[in-house]
Symmetry: C2
Subunit: 147 residues, 2 copies
Amino acid sequence: MAEVFEDAESVMAHLRALRQELLTTSIEPSGDQARSGLTAPQVGLIRSLVVEGSATVTELARRLSLSHSTTSGIVDRLQARGLVTREPDPHDRRYTRIEVTAPVQGYTREISEGPYGRLTRALDAASAAERKAVLEGLETLRALLSR
Amino acid sequence: MAEVFEDAESVMAHLRALRQELLTTSIEPSGDQARSGLTAPQVGLIRSLVVEGSATVTELARRLSLSHSTTSGIVDRLQARGLVTREPDPHDRRYTRIEVTAPVQGYTREISEGPYGRLTRALDAASAAERKAVLEGLETLRALLSR
DNA sequence: GTTACTTGTGTCGTATACGACGCGTCGTAT
DNA sequence: ATACGACGCGTCGTATACGACACAAGTAAC
């Protein structure tokens, strides 16, 4: 149990660092090209709307693996910028469909690479064995936790 | 490049889910035993103080792989609860040493398992090959990103 | 039809998390 | 001695992120 604890600390350090590198800094500061001032979750939400179609807040939360309240806040900020709209569903007034506004449609082509451009490029440059190691490691970890 | 993108989405989904399972829910709601109302970062910071000794805010930030401002905020909230103190260094007044208060010392034995109890137990129950797969996967991913 | 349950939404409070900024402090070069 | 750069700290503004809550709207039970 002793040395396993070091593994646990190592795993946590890896996950923290990966999150920082991928989730929070993947879009804006990498200097790739001039950007829009959007954060990774915001780009991910817009991208989901474009690629998988408009959806309700709850559906978006499910797609992005976020809670309802978090997703609602992201929609709030995008709506304040005029990038998405909330359209009440006439058939069932509980529903509110989130739609991207027209000006976003064109811009979206630029982000069709997804919010994970850096990760995608890294995986593309990796060997098949490396990709396999990455995916198997993550899958193994999750399987261990759900056991 | 096409199928690689699916790998990227898969990796991101794994990381998101792992973060939720480990970072945010590892301490409180697992029903292990009655808890203190402390969050995982708070427990991690206290644990670092006890195990590795008292330190400055910057040093703590480095240990926890967090930014200085985030760490300062966590110390703020722990200080408000009387769990840590800020002691100005008499030799160099730029420094402020963070110390755990006396009542915390005993309690700390209960959390010496670390904030990652669930992860530690999972890794302990895993085979050597599984542990290797997990660590290699994470290390490979980080190496790919820093290439 | 009225009641009870479910579902979807938005909001509130709190805790991370970061970069940017200003302030005080120390060492050092001028 | 003084100016200056480096360092540590705290604070601000903003964005994520969650659970808990209240409310509205539909559904089901009776």
